[in-house]
Amino acid sequence: MANETQTQNVSVNNFEQCLKCSICTVYCPVSAVSPEYPGPKQAGPDAERYRLKNKEFFDDALKMCLNCKRCEVACPNDVHIGDIIQAARIKYNTHRPKLRDMMLANTDFVGTMASPFAAIANPILKLKPMKAVLHGVMAIDKHRTFPDYSSRKFESWFKKNAASEQEKFNKHVSYFHGCYVNYNYPQLGMDFVKVMNAVGYGVHLLEKEKCCGVALIANGMPKQAKRQGEVNMTSMRKAIAKGHQVLTTSSTCTFTMRDEYDHLLGIDNHDVRDSISLATRFLFQLIEKGEIKLAFREDYHKRVAYHSACHMERMGWAPYSTRLLRMIPDIDFVMLESQCCGISGTYGFKKENYERSQAIGKGLFDQIKEVTPDCVATDCETCKWQIEMSTGTPVMNPISIIAEALDVETTRKLNKLD
């Protein structure tokens, strides 16, 4: 009998720790609605053993994986099932991405092109003939409407209206706004600046910001994702050197830059990771430490149902956002049962995924209809599109709710700014 036993697991992504208990399958949103998908256990740790022997065992069905990571959240043994599946797609997939996938994935490029023409592009993208063309030629599902492009980018707004004000604050953060805030919904960025300024923090843009790359990873363009990730890391290092935290208002951008860069793209982010945080988390932590205070309008009432976005769930950070929201005195707060909404970024836009995407989200939509909130709160922008389209209920980022409920004057006084 040996005198020692191996106590540390050394397999990549913990795949040897899989006990084949199948609990991941219970929580896979895809396997139940798409029987041709092999399910997380089979697609992940089981098939990995074969793939390690021969790449011919790679199965194209793996592209049905949403990368929602709910398998990893459910796994009682900390196997990184989602990472195993995504890593296999990166390593073994030999198909070149289609034009459509390149368009969907290049949020930066498409946003830059569309923004100046927003007044024309938005209505055109909503026209039935245009949707038919997108559906038929590009395989972008006709039920989908592209989120409106904003006629003015967040960056332009910020430089013109806010940048000059920021230096007068004593404390500073950098803001990774992401493509959605820049091209589609600058209001969220404005809300962020409003809240941060009210508690005494100046906001700064990064020297250079590229799309975090989540859509590139999902659409089979890991090399471009890595290049963009390196640009972001370089800019963030400079911000961190100035003593800034880098804040975001998107759970998926945050998750991608903190975890997927290292796990999937091989970007060394160990010196940056801890300085990347979500705005709600940053605010909550400062309030807990007593370093800042928030005051809310007395006349603010809202019934808010919180939806835990998949990557928020994976990070384990939903309580930061929910406890922050619950600080608003007259909020009627309902926690929705955590379920995937089905959109998963660009996944639900593709014609071949539309029905699956809606079937996955059905449970969540039914819950929302039952709760009848004034708005749904979630930290993810693509969940917002999906939930608004599928339920008609408006969806807000928690930061926007805080900004709306905030009594700015009193908050500034409490934080000794006036």
Partner: protein, 414 residues
């Protein structure tokens, strides 16, 4: 982040304590590293099923008086009242059960055995007396190609008890679609397909067509109703013959339902659930636990006045062993290894009572944990992580989980 109480472990025990404390108006957080062993549950909870010799127990409340001095039941103030509270707590969470603490009933195992048990979720097949089967002729109706319901074993078990059994199989096109990935034809996926497509009535028609009125019981695999009991109840109503469910091999639909409904209740009461996170360190000062660190909340300490450790035993990674030691994984509190030499932890015959099964954390008479021999005044343990019981041999897992959780909650509220 501050709470009144933090519970480590999100299974039956942790959720029971969490619900009881949230019902008492406390601000409770629960940290759970992955999903729990309820996913392997039978749809029944045991209080005490077997005596030392392995014989079935008929009256668990009486038998509990005789358990040895190390058993966690010795730390309960009033077993009978706690058992009643447990049943009511389940009911308030929407989980209706049959059974009580003064007389066990028997559930049918997936391989055709009869096991004494305390509470069974409504709709599960049970018998009052193992020596007197209530059915003359049973139709055992499986779903075509569903492999986790071993009908031949089940039929053999029932025939041994003098029941006439016919094995039948039914299907629907939507269910056969699931076979496209044979590994995914699981109870929980079947439940999702039936639920998503409103197939309950169609399935009932199929069952009615193969199991007519000459049967006095139809037994079905428990593959309906993962998040509530609507579909499972509805199916039984639509089947013309009396019908009940038998647990399948895991993953268990009734177990997932119990987990989901308990968590729903906890959240509805305002409880905060830290999902898929793991406690990595306890911050102790003298004999008080001040806070815990977790793997994902780097930079945040979870603080509270009281803590409950309900992380489960070896299977749930609450306990681990290396070559020479058994240790508690979350906080490093003292473990009772029964003073056994490494070579005697396990018996060669796997069906023997395994000594390691009785290992667990040491607690004082109030269920409080110890560290380096000193009692931690605000850290309680509950559930299968407690030392001194063997849930496989004595069939006491559900009772230990729920009753010690309720006792720990009571001790905190006092």
């Amino acid at each position: 982040m501050k709470f009144d109480i933090i519970i480590i472990g999100g299974g039956l025990s942790g959720l029971t304590a969490g619900i009881a404390l949230a019902e008492a108006g406390k601000d409770v957080a629960l940290v759970s590293a992955g999903q729990s062993s309820l996913h392997f549950g039978s749809g029944s909870l045991d209080l005490l099923g077997c005596d030392e010799k392995g014989n079935d127990i008929y009256n668990p409340l009486d038998a509990i008086k005789e358990v040895n001095s190390k058993h966690p039941y010795n730390k309960l103030e009033n077993v009978s009242s706690l058992a009643g509270m447990a049943k009511q707590l389940l009911e308030r969470a929407g989980i209706a059960t049959t059974g009580n603490a003064t007389s066990n009933h028997w559930r049918i195992t997936p391989i055709g055995g009869l096991m004494p048990t305390w509470l069974s979720m409504e709709g599960m097949a049970t018998v009052e007396d193992p020596n007197q089967m209530p059915w003359r002729k049973v139709a055992l109706v499986n779903i075509v190609n569903y492999l986790d319901f071993p009908t031949k074993f089940l039929a053999a078990g029932l025939r041994d008890k003098g029941v006439e059994v016919d094995i039948k199989a039914v299907t629907l096109p939507e269910l056969q679609e699931l076979r496209k990935s044979p590994t995914e034809m699981r109870a929980t996926n079947i439940a999702k397909v039936i639920g998503n497509n409103d197939l309950t009535a169609k399935l009932a028609d199929q069952v009615n067509s193969v199991a007519g009125e000459d049967y006095d019981m139809v037994l079905l695999p428990a593959v309906l109703g993962m998040t509530n009991d609507k579909n499972s109840k509805h199916l039984l109503e639509l089947i013309k013959t009396p019908a009940q469910f038998v647990a399948t091999l895991p993953p268990s639909v009734p177990g997932v339902r119990m987990q989901t409904m308990l968590r729903r209740r906890f959240t509805a009461l305002g409880g905060t659930f830290f999902t898929g996170d793991q406690v990595t360190e306890g911050l102790f000062e003298d004999n008080i636990l001040k806070g815990v660190k977790t793997a994902k909340l780097d930079g945040t300490t979870l603080e509270s006045d009281n803590f409950i450790l309900a992380t489960g035993s070896f299977m749930s990674r609450g306990l681990r062993a290396d070559y020479n030691h058994v240790y508690e994984t979350a906080l490093g509190v003292d473990v009772d290894d029964l003073g056994l030499d490494r070579k005697t932890w396990a018996k060669i015959d796997v069906t023997d009572a395994q000594p390691y099964m009785e290992m667990g954390v040491k607690t004082d008479e109030n269920l409080r944990c110890m560290r380096n021999g000193t009692t931690i005044s605000n850290l309680y343990a509950a559930g299968s992580i407690l030392s001194g019981h063997n849930s496989i041999k004595r069939l006491d897992a559900g009772g230990v989980d729920m009753l010690t959780a309720l006792q720990a909650a009571n001790n905190i509220i006092k």
